[in-house]
């Protein structure tokens, strides 16, 4: 282990702002991008399902 204490680790030898600024933004982007993709998938699936249900209902009312 390279560090003597947690505070020393977070201080990054005086470069805390630059190091954690880099790692923080990277972590944020890598967390948000998959969430956006997953949410889009959820919306898409429910929209397409609704469309199909609507079409089926229209078909059924035509038949009767």
């Amino acid at each position: 282990m390279h560090w003597n204490s947690a505070s020393e680790f977070f201080a990054m030898g005086g470069y805390a702002f630059y190091v954690w600024g880099s790692f923080g933004v990277t972590a944020l982007i890598m967390a948000v991008e998959p969430i956006i993709v997953a949410r889009r998938r959820k919306n898409l699936l429910s929209r397409l399902k609704r469309q199909i249900t609507a079409e089926n209902l229209a078909q059924r009312s035509e038949e009767s």
Partner: protein
């Protein structure tokens, strides 16, 4: 030979690729987490302090992988674009479109971490030097590709227009890569050399390679997820999507 050709085209059909991609995504996510944890452990806890840059050099463990990925994703995107232009396959355009946002984010991260590294080491966030400027152009190429595709309503035409832009932009990749050799720049040359004190260089190199693998697996997973969305959206009127949705409903 003939048989093989048929199999390839079957694989290239969204109806086959969609479930396959769905099965592959969790594996790429798992690999990304494992590589990321190992790389960050090595980089943040094992790798020693740099004798010149102190602890600030640790930005390298995301700066270099993000920069590599931004260039590599562009090459893959251009490859799919070329394939789409040549064979007019549906899947190619979808893959190129799915890769662009992830590539743009990698290019942004490369510039962002570079700025945060440049400030303490060079005394400036930004200089108009060859390496930095060509990487900025790469980000603009990604944004241009996304904007151009979203400006065209017909997806097949959007694919073709985007493909031409992607292929023209490929010329920028060797410019980025060789910029530190061709021009006299502020940006340092090879990030890690094996000729320095071997144990230290080895730890740093391994940490960097592991994080690069993590980014690679992440990019594949998220691009496959996005490609699946594009497939559903574009093929919503086809039989396989209807069957898929009907199966999900019950």
């Amino acid at each position: 030979m003939n048989n093989r050709l048929i199999n390839w085209f079957k694989f290239a059909s969204p109806a086959t690729f969609y479930p396959l991609a769905g099965k592959m995504i969790p594996w790429f996510v798992a690999l990304s987490v494992v590589f990321g944890a190992a790389g960050l452990y090595l980089g943040m806890f094992v790798a020693p302090t740099d004798f010149q840059q102190g602890e600030g050099y640790r930005i390298i463990f995301i700066h270099v992988p993000a920069s590599w990925m931004s260039m590599f994703i562009y090459l893959v995107m251009a490859f799919w674009a070329a394939l789409g232009l040549a064979f007019n396959t549906r899947l190619s355009g979808m893959m190129a479109t799915a890769l662009a946002p992830t590539g743009a984010l990698m290019a942004f991260l490369s510039l962002w971490t570079g700025a945060l590294w440049g400030k303490p080491m060079w005394g400036t966030w930004w200089v108009w030097d060859a390496r930095l400027t060509s990487e900025l152009i790469l980000l603009f190429l990604y944004i241009g590709f996304i904007a151009l595709q979203s400006a065209i309503d017909d997806p097949r035409r959007a694919d073709k227009a985007g493909a031409v832009l992607a292929l023209v932009g490929v010329v920028n990749i060797p410019i980025i890569y060789f910029s530190v050799k061709w021009w006299n720049t502020l940006h340092q040359g090879a990030s890690v050399s094996l000729t320095k004190s071997p144990s230290m260089a080895a730890t740093m190199l391994w940490a960097m390679l592991l994080v690069a693998l993590c980014f690679w697996m992440y990019s594949i997973a998220v691009a496959l997820g996005r490609a699946r969305n594009i497939m559903l959206e574009r093929e919503r009127h086809t039989e396989w999507v209807r069957q898929l949705l009907a199966g999900k409903e019950s």
